[in-house]
């Protein structure tokens, strides 16, 4: 409990220290602040009692905040949110260290806002009160907007405003739905309460039509953040314009808030709606995979390419989640973490060569293996992780997501019926080919081939910090933990899979029933006789 609050609040304290402290020490203060946050969270994870059981938010409560409205300061983790929070906390110091040389102006504000960003992301993952979650979820936008709008590229203002308005609009749907659910709870019980578990218990008792709308509205909110086709257009622009560290956090932590929201709110709260809309979401996810992959293919801007690839990858993640069986759900959660690691690392790598050449255009710069061999090795490793090479982390999530989709048609053999099935998996599988295609083309242009450097070295010389041709020790130290994590998770996924499994099953607890009900409905079986006939009809 104390540790959680330390990890949330310490970055804010550090942000104050950055604000009042001298400019020179700002970056080190910020670095220390994120390290303490990571340390506290790691310590909490070390002693976490519920790694292997489904207990929701064990051992954690919090003081009341607005008692009239039932809003509390209660925080706590289950394994999924803990993993995602650990991922964010793990990336924070790396991002700050990655900004040491790239951010040279207005450093105090930068590090201050970055720390606030970190703490609001952890707050969102840690919250067990829906309103507290909303606050963390929404507040990430403020520092991120400022980071993009002040430190970004040439179109930074447009990008920042679009990101803010777009995702804000989405979260309005979410907030309205959460308030509606709270109100329903008040109707049922007589008092406001926004505890997520309590709300979940309330909503699953609501009629299916209500659940349908609750699910749809929550889905709209989270789909913007994921981002799911066709609500993705803010993302490439924001990524393209954001400074490196901003892109990393945006891709690795903030997008995960969307998928996490599905895991935590939309799916468990409205199983009837989820069951009814699963094929719709799955189709959108598949479109996202194919569509974004094809767009990646024609990108010449390295960062935009990786941004669109995020859309494709998270499409696969959503597909796994909406396969509505433990394989897919587990794969999806695993994929969230993996995508955070490998895509974050790719953004860092791209940022490193961008700092040296001041261009991300793969037509202008390329063949860097000759100039930057160490960087090239990391780049190849992370690209392979992103492609989903077995033995690296991306593969595990991919194979489980696709496997989950594949057996989603099973008539109760897996215990979790679904409506997706092999065709969905086949079409989504094409994404694997496309992923190899566009990422290898990126590698082929950027890393391999004859050395191409921009001719006007003026930009290079005018940079405030003179950088070595290949990445320096600091940059190696940033990438190495990510590389180790990628390899380790690829070779030893079992502990993490074991940790996710109970949570995935708990999330899906109501689905077999709901999906069977829907299938029976569409088959025309009267609802009353369902319980007797389900087993017989499935075995026929």
């Amino acid at each position: 409990m104390l540790l959680i609050w330390t990890s949330i609040l310490f970055p804010i304290l550090a942000a104050f220290a950055v604000a009042i402290g001298p400019t020179k020490s700002a970056k080190w203060t910020a670095f220390a602040g994120t390290l303490v946050s990571l340390g506290a969270l790691t310590l909490f994870a070390w002693n976490f009692p519920a790694w292997h059981n489904a207990e929701h938010f064990p051992n954690t409560t919090g003081p009341s905040w607005i008692p009239q409205a039932g809003i509390t300061f209660s925080v706590g983790f289950d394994t999924v949110s803990l993993l995602l929070a650990l991922l964010s906390a793990f990336l924070m110091p790396l991002c700050i260290a990655g900004s040491f040389s790239s951010i040279t102006e207005r450093t105090k504000e930068y590090y201050g806002w970055f720390l606030v960003l970190g703490s609001s992301i952890i707050l969102a993952f840690a919250a067990r009160d829906a309103i507290l979650f909303y606050i963390g979820y929404e507040f990430t936008l403020v520092p991120m907007t400022l980071i993009i709008a002040i430190y970004g590229g040439t179109e930074r203002r447009v990008a920042a405003i679009k990101m803010f308005l777009y995702t804000f609009l989405g979260s309005m749907f979410m907030l309205a739905t959460l308030l509606y659910i709270g109100w329903e709870h008040r109707l049922a019980v007589g008092a406001w309460d926004f505890d997520i578990d309590t709300l979940t218990k309330t909503t699953i008792r609501l009629p299916s039509s209500t659940q349908y709308w609750i699910f749809a509205a929550l889905m709209v909110g989270f789909a913007v953040k994921v981002p799911l086709f066709p609500l993705h257009t803010w993302l490439p622009l924001a990524h393209d314009q954001a400074p490196t560290a901003g892109s990393v956090i945006l891709a690795s932590a903030m997008l995960k808030l969307g998928t996490y929201g599905n895991y935590r709110f939309a799916l468990p709260m409205a199983p009837a709606g989820g069951a009814e809309l699963m094929s719709v979401v799955a189709v959108l996810a598949i479109i996202a995979i194919i569509y974004a992959s094809l767009i990646c293919w024609v990108q010449t801007d390295a960062k935009k390419l990786v941004a669109y690839s995020s859309v494709a990858h998270l499409g696969l993640c959503m597909l796994g989640l909406f396969a509505l069986n433990p394989v897919g759900a587990e794969g999806a959660v695993f994929y969230m973490v993996n995508h955070g690691l490998s895509t974050g690392a790719l953004f860092l790598c791209i940022g490193m060569f961008y700092e040296r050449y001041h261009t991300k255009d793969t037509d202008v710069v390329g063949g860097l293996a000759k100039r930057m061999p160490i960087w090239a090795s990391f780049m190849v490793l992370f690209t392979m992780a992103s492609i989903g090479l077995p033995g690296l982390n991306g593969f595990i999530g991919e194979v489980l997501c696709l496997g989950g989709t594949f057996i989603s048609e099973h008539d109760g053999q897996s215990g979790y019926p679904g409506v997706l099935g092999p065709w969905y998996a086949i079409v989504a599988g094409l994404g694997l080919i496309f992923a190899a295609m566009y990422l290898l083309i990126l590698l082929g242009k950027l890393v391999w081939g004859p050395l191409r450097e921009p001719h006007d070295d003026a930009a290079h010389a005018s940079s405030a910090v003179r950088l070595s041709p290949d990445i320096n020790f600091r940059e190696i130290a940033i990438l190495t933990p990510l590389a180790i994590a990628c390899i380790w998770l690829g070779l030893q996924p079992k502990p993490m899979l074991d940790a996710i499994a109970p949570c995935a099953e708990r999330m899906l607890a109501n689905y077999p029933k709901e999906v069977e009900r829907l299938m029976a409905q569409s088959a025309g079986t009267p609802l009353a006789s369902l319980n007797n006939t389900t087993n017989e009809s499935s075995s026929e």
């Binding site: 679009k162 308005l165 777009y166 066709p230 257009t233 803010w234 622009l237 569509y291 094809l294 767009i295 293919w297 024609v298 433990p326 394989v327 587990e330 063949g367 293996a369 000759k370 160490i374 090795s377 190849v380 090479l389 077995p390 033995g391 593969f395 595990i396 194979v399 489980l400 696709l402 496997g403 594949f406 057996i407 099973h410 053999q413 897996s414 215990g415 092999p422 998996a425 086949i426 599988g429 094409l430 694997l432 080919i433 190899a436 295609m437 290898l440 590698l443 082929g444 890393v447 391999w448 081939g449 004859p450 050395l451 070779l491 996924p493 079992k494 899979l497 074991d498 499994a501 099953e505």
Partner: protein, 714 residues
Amino acid sequence: MTQLTSIPQAIIAPELSWVGLALLLPLLAAVACALCCALRVKGKAAAIITILALAASFGIIVKAYFAYTGPVQVPIFQWIDFEWGAGQFQSFNANCALYIDTLTLFWMLFVTGLGTLIAIYASEYMEGYCGSGYSRFFFGICIFLFSMSALVMGDNLIMLYLGWEGVGLASYLLIGFDYARPAAVAAGKKAFIMNRIGDLGLALGIFMLWANYGTLQYSELFAAMNKGGQTSVDWDLSVIPFLLMLGAFGKSAQIPLFTWLPDAMEGPTPVSALIHAATMVTAGVYLIARMYPFFELHPEALATVAWVGGLTALLAATIGMAQYDIKRVFAYSTISQLGYMFLGLGVGTSFGACYHTLTHAFFKALLFLTAGAIMHGFAGQLDLRKLSGLRHIPGWRIVSWTMLVGCLWLSAFPYTAAFFSKDAILLQALTSVRADFRFLGWLGLFTAALTAYYTFRVWFRVCAGPLHFEPGAEAHSESHDHHAPSTHAAHTTAPAAKSDHSFHPHAPRWAINGVLLILALGAVVVGVPAYNQAFAHKDNWAQQMIAGSSAMQGAGLAEDHGSQASVEHPKVLGMDAHTGLTIVGCTASIGGILIAWYFHLGSRKSADQLRAALLRRWWIRWVPICMENKWYVDEIYHFCFRLPMWLGSQILYFADRHFLDGVMVDGLAKIPIAVGKLFRPLYGGALQGYASTMAGGIALVVAWLSWIWLRGFN
């Protein structure tokens, strides 16, 4: 379908976990090579580490072979392993475990053995790169050996997939080893992507197996097959073999996914020998042999394999006849020989296919290594029109004669090992009860003649004839200068060439020559099982090895056909099948060689005359043109798949920016602005304007309230 013998059940043997070292050692060596790379080691440390690790790995496999008693399953550690219920279909298990049966050992023996030899060869061949990529090269080799071992020894299909993709990665990294050359990079990319297309088929096949049988472990899958292979799940099982087949076709460069292999020759030659000739490309054969029982799930699955194999063999042979680059000729011959293996698998002799894999591994590795030695010595020259009579140079005798051995074997010269292995395949095809298989058999015989022709076209051109050579483009390039000091001794002792300028080819030294000799010896030795069978009527070792594994169902099938043959005496050209085939096979092989002798040694001019004569006649000119241009397959793929997709992507990107983002999103954002503009005149800036707006607003509110009041508040 005939009654099939059941596959022996594997027992779990954790005490055999030392076999896992064969996997671990290459991985450790890879780490060590990576360290060498990072520390910029200038010497040959990486090569020594690699050779030691691979030799140890080979030793372990040999030990495992002698310790072998029956199929075993060796658990090592849990990889992906979880379940959500007790039911058969409620788990997903893919652990790091080994499945060792005779097929595994058969494959591992030549994979690790050849891996070691080629690493030794490469330690000399690659010395020009010392300090700049030498360690990286051996890193790739180690990764390859690790992945290949995982592919072959894995106990489940996910392990196989791990190896499958891992060898793809190693192949990608090694083809693009010389990354400054765009052609090499493009070739690596092409190889990876084309393989990925096949991999999708494999992955879907794996999912299909899992969804149907609830497991991915070989032992459990085979147990299910022993019970008849049917499951309670009402899925279409018959697509499984076709999906697996797609994966095999991708990895083993068969129609329609074969175009990557010739391009892969951009890689260093030891890589071509090891990965793209001897081992990796046979993974498809391994997959089908391993999953052989599942190819019975659809009656036409094996026939498809046979047709694809037979047609690929012919197509690749025709292209190989018209190529001038030695390595490319050998690459097409690899595709063609792989076609034979698939033909063998398809017509039901998994023994023939696997045995041909073994013999092919040796002679093809040998051929590539000789080509590599020539390339190394002649500064990258591989054009067979520009090399001639190399056997006259003293330092090149070993190369020339070992190349002759390789060529004889490749052309299935009578009573070489490859003759027997090809014989086994063609016999099975020609004595089949199916007419289309018999046709494929004749097609295979015709292809054998073509093979003999193009093989000896290379040898007669390059090694025989008058001495003449032109060095390649790398003569004065940087990479040549790199290895000049280290090979200086060889350089100066080489005799003055009778060339028009002062180029001195440097002859290979002990590592290359030694490996060539060992491989030539190996190519002879792998014939021993066949000699035993043919002359001493002893058991064929290779047949036993295959029969003890999951590929035995095919072997059973073959025996079945064999017994049928003994009853009905199927005839080939009116003779006993064995005798007839021997005669026809000898004729094809020797005939091909003689034609090659006439055109490429006897009177080399007539070859050009023939080509010119063909090109003059409109009704036949398409044949040489198409053959020289590889039947335009690359171009067809480009225009049918790549180009439309690329255009589609551009359109999608345009639509994404301008329609989805521009019209939909920004359009939506314009609505509030437009509404705001409507009311803009009310806020013109003059104080009175604001005041009257306010007054008017109040008046409206008052009016509304009064209206409600007057109406009477319902």
